[in-house]
Point group: C2
Chain length 638, copies 2
């Protein structure tokens, strides 16, 4: 066998670039398997996961105390206690237990005075749903629990259980075959002669790689015989996703790795400009990677860390979590906190311009989604009552900063296409997550103006001009760019068969019609108020006008659960629960763009996604979306 | 059952302090088991691990090329090539293969010109042991591979195999029993009725904790019955190291955890000033921890992360590695690097005063110890030839910065007591590692003067005064404090039975006596040179004067392997290999102390350790140590 010398050694980054580019198709193809969700720790979702159940699945008590009828508590105060009768005005209730009709609110145990077995006295009134966890508070049936390519943590598994997702599609673990070669090497425990070489690299390689969602089988030790080595590679590459040879990657007279790969397939790289680590062979056989690792352990370790590990992460989409870094950022919201307790505020984090922005996630002790979505925790120390909007905060990261730097923040009006977008973005770049928050259309404009988000969704009709969004944005910003995501149908979401016969806004005032509203900053709320005003209907005439939900889906769920008869919302939300829908308007839903995000590669990716046929088709399946102007941009300059 | 309210809620840090203090004895007792080293990934050493074999175990080639007799290459240069004959002057050799007598050096394949099958031509001479990995280069038999409480990584396992350590004492995995309680909770897959509560926390808890070297068994779900709960705790606490109850930790009418623990043992804390997470019960039954976790998942998660996880890490001594942080530091050494390759330089790191100091570890591709010992990697980019001593470098951390902040750097003269000290320090504080480097006594003084280390070992005799160390230090520093570690016997390390009859320095010049020397900065070398000078012996008269080793143990190993007959070194090194020892001097070995380290709690710990009887007894067992002045301090002021 002729000795080889390294020709054209390349730098490591260049090497990885060239090699991974040759493996492009290999990386694109996902190998999917279905497993039990309860066994899914550290596995990676292969497709978006949709909730099969509302979390929580019924209205439940958030406290130990008594379930009450809120109306019966009105008027109670320090000097005028109200006495409640058990079985008539209240029932004792423990945390997590259901709130059943006619009860609609909870008073915590610390705030009641027990008079006798049948009576208690209270000195504070409560509003409806006080200390009640509303059905679907954490997530609604039909909503996306995780996009594809999400690495499942311990709390994620619990979250799936709560959402009644018991089987999940995941990326199959990578199957790696490690072939030790060399006439003189033997298992270390079996060393008998003085000059035998202990085969110790296999253990290092196996233990190291199995940490990253791979299964490593160790072949028996092969002799320095090129035909034997070739035969094994040719046979095993059918069954394995990656073959590693160790050693024989160098230029010695018995280093057959180069020749074996070259005969069976193609050597892409031999020799890298690093020290240690130079003698590595990177090849492709049967469109799969075959790598010759250097024999010296430190060299081997470097190739493992800087080439094999990234290869596995690229193929399996595995994310490694860290939790030891603290960064400085700003709060995107004003936060009230308890003066007597230290609060753990879970936040999504994104880098907008030069700032890290912390977006508070759901704060309730029961909302496990906040753990699943967290990028970090902001500790609000005891004694601090308020963290101001824009105030500097220390963020204790729970994911690696490098990945958080890729996060895209979308804050504003809620829309189901944002879930779809989140999944598509992962599909094309597993390292990008979308962090979204529903604060309504007006909240979205402010989040862009203050530099708190990259994009903001909105659908605000200017009744005077018939134009959407632009006149509202102008009140806060002189120059801006706005991009259309979709048109969408707004209308009355009603029970199947529309039993209350809701056809127009006047019908909302009818006797026995229970309305469910959106919050004040929502564009849908503005649409309602505009129509009421136009028709001279007073909000007081509408039963339930003051009951608010924060998303289309939560609103639809309330109707599905017969807690209301009608609400204004989008058709796609009605479709999730198989409810009926009475169209009212076709509105324009746009994304306002942060200046510094315009020339960002991630923005380019989003543009490519939303204008693709693949995305449009999936969007239209949701119902009520018309994507004729998607990607169209309006530029406003002073 | 009476309802309870939280009395005297405490802050989290205070809570952990009080609770862990009550568990002091529990934490102190290690549960040890012996396992196969090859199955030791992520396990924690329970005792110091000693090498059973030298690594490498014989002189071996570091390159593919030819093994030569170095003398026969002398005189070769560009214009005067030397022709070598196969079988007489050279043999072909592959990386890792043994160098056998009479060969003593290697020429890499790229540097030879093949004339015919039996002859090659070279144009460069080589010195002895060029490109030879010397026996024991990475570690010597008898040296400590790891102190106790070291969490084993993938490369550590390979290192153990190389050092022929096949069975190891490790901390037994913690056995945890998780007991879900509650009448209404059921396995999520078995939900049938609307208001049942899915038992989803168990999965979160089990998956989360098993990541930290624990085994979590899940009990069947228990009803809300205090007697049943008490019976299970009382029975299972005999077998488990920790019991977790979930939920029932709150103050509701069915929250029995408090009462169950109180009846069986002692509740230390009920209620913490955090949000979420308030309703936790921390108790002790049978001197073991029993914890009531809150039922809401976010609350439960916080108690797990901030109380149960630290409890497990304290009990098992498990260290979690990270690898994503980059810090700025300074190089403690001048480093030459290849201009054509990017070098991965593994470093130990410590914080001395305000600076992070990077101590280069062994650089050879074969030296796996460098991976085991690394705190981080400094990348020396292609094109950079030299990193100056004191130059700023970026350190890519491989261990958490918090732990690295605890590292104690001891740079200077080599002594076996430093291994002992490293293990004792871990024993009393698992979070403190000693990073040591052998640069000789003079190198040690410089490392303190330049701010590169916390402590420096030295044993430099001033022949004029008979005093040790002080006059040498004064050349570099005006004010300093010096502490005695031990007196130790220096002498001639010789073959068993002293066949060459070495009794004094004159005997070193005898015919047929092969000497092995220490490097120029070593105090032992200075001791030799001083005596030769006094006796009028020229170094030229000593065969092997220019052969150098960097530690007492490597020197002794060379004699053991019959590669030399005698060397000057400490008795403890002779004892390791059962060699004979001829005493020459009793010298004082002191530690010079960095100013900023004097008031450090870690210095206090070291003082307490070295002055303890336990340490002294262990030290004296090594042989040749006299600890009569240990801990004595000399203060020198200008």
């Amino acid at each position: 066998m002729k000795r080889r010398f390294y020709l054209n050694k390349k730098d490591l980054e260049e090497t990885v670039g060239i090699y991974f580019n040759e493996l492009k198709d290999y990386f694109l193809k996902d190998d999917i398997e279905y497993i039990k969700a309860r066994e899914g720790i550290n596995r990676i979702t292969a497709l978006p996961i949709i909730a099969n159940e509302n979390v929580p699945s019924y209205n439940s008590s958030a406290m130990d105390g008594i379930a009450v009828i809120s109306k019966r508590t009105y008027g109670a105060n320090e000097s005028n206690p109200v006495i409640l009768e058990k079985g008539k005005d209240f029932e004792y209730i423990n945390t997590g237990y259901p709130i059943n009709n006619p009860y609609d609110s909870v008073i915590m145990i610390e705030n009641i005075e027990i008079i006798d077995d049948g009576h208690v006295q209270i000195r504070n009134s409560v509003y409806p749903y006080k200390d009640v966890r509303k059905v679907g508070e954490d997530i609604c049936k039909g909503e996306m629990v995780f996009p594809r390519y999400h690495t499942l943590t311990s709390s994620d598994i619990s979250f799936l259980m709560m959402a009644k997702v018991f089987e999940i599609p995941v990326i199959r673990k990578m199957k790696i075959l490690l072939i030790p070669t060399g006439n003189e090497i033997v298992k270390p425990e079996e060393l008998t002669e003085e000059f035998q070489i202990p085969e110790t690299n296999s253990l290092m390689i196996k233990n190291y790689l199995e940490h990253f969602n791979a299964v490593v089988d160790i072949n028996e030790i092969l002799p320095d015989d090129i035909n034997i080595i070739k035969n094994i590679i040719a046979e095993k590459i059918k069954e394995y996703d990656l073959i590693l040879l160790n050693a024989g990657s160098s230029a010695g007279s018995k280093d057959f790795t180069y020749h074996a790969i070259n005969d069976l397939g193609k050597v892409i790289i031999h020799g890298i400009n690093i020290k240690p680590g130079k003698p590595a062979v990177l090849g492709i056989v049967n469109e799969k990677p075959v790598i010759g690792l250097p024999g010296f352990p430190v060299s081997c370790n470097i190739i493992m860390e800087d080439i094999v590990k990234p290869l596995i992460l690229n193929k399996t989409k595995y994310e490694i979590y860290y939790d030891n870094e603290i960064i400085e950022g700003i709060s995107a919201k004003r936060i009230h906190s308890s003066i007597t307790e230290k609060e753990y505020l879970r936040v999504g984090v994104g880098k907008v311009g030069e700032n890290y922005v912390a977006i508070p996630l759901k704060r309730g002790a029961a909302n496990i989604s906040a753990i699943s979505k967290q990028d970090g925790i902001v500790y609000i120390e005891k004694g601090i009552e308020v963290v101001e909007d824009g105030e500097e905060v220390s963020i204790h990261l729970k994911r690696s900063k490098k990945l958080i730097d890729n996060n895209i923040l979308i804050i504003g009006s809620h829309d189901l296409l944002l879930y779809l977008l989140a999944d598509f973005v992962k599909k094309y770049d597993k390292n990008i997550n979308i962090v979204s928050a529903n604060v309504g259309s007006l909240g979205g404009i402010l989040s862009i103006a203050k530099g708190y988000s990259h994009l903001a969704g909105m659908h605000l009709l200017d009744p005077e001009t018939g134009e959407y969004n632009i006149s509202y944005i102008k009140e806060y910003m002189d120059d801006f760019k706005l991009m259309n995501l979709s048109y969408r149908e707004q209308g009355f979401i009603v029970q199947k068969g529309n039993p209350k016969k809701i056809k127009d806004f006047e019908d909302l005032t009818k006797d026995g019609v229970r309305y469910i509203n959106r919050q004040k900053t929502a564009g849908t709320r503005i649409l309602l108020d505009y129509n009421l005003d136009k028709k001279g209907i007073s909000p007081k005439e509408i039963h339930g006008y003051s009951d608010e939900e924060y998303s289309h889906v939560n609103l639809a769920l309330k109707i599905k659960k017969d807690m209301a008869d009608v609400g204004l919302g989008i058709r796609a939300a009605a479709n999730i629960y198989n409810l009926d829908f009475v169209p009212v308007a076709l509105e324009r839903y746009d994304l306002l763009i942060q200046d510094s995000f315009l020339n960002d590669k991630r923005f380019e990716l989003i543009m490519n996604i939303i204008t693709s046929n693949e995305f449009k088709e999936e969007a239209e399946k949701l119902g009520g979306y018309i994507l004729k102007d998607t990607g169209k941009i309006w530029e406003v300059v002073k």
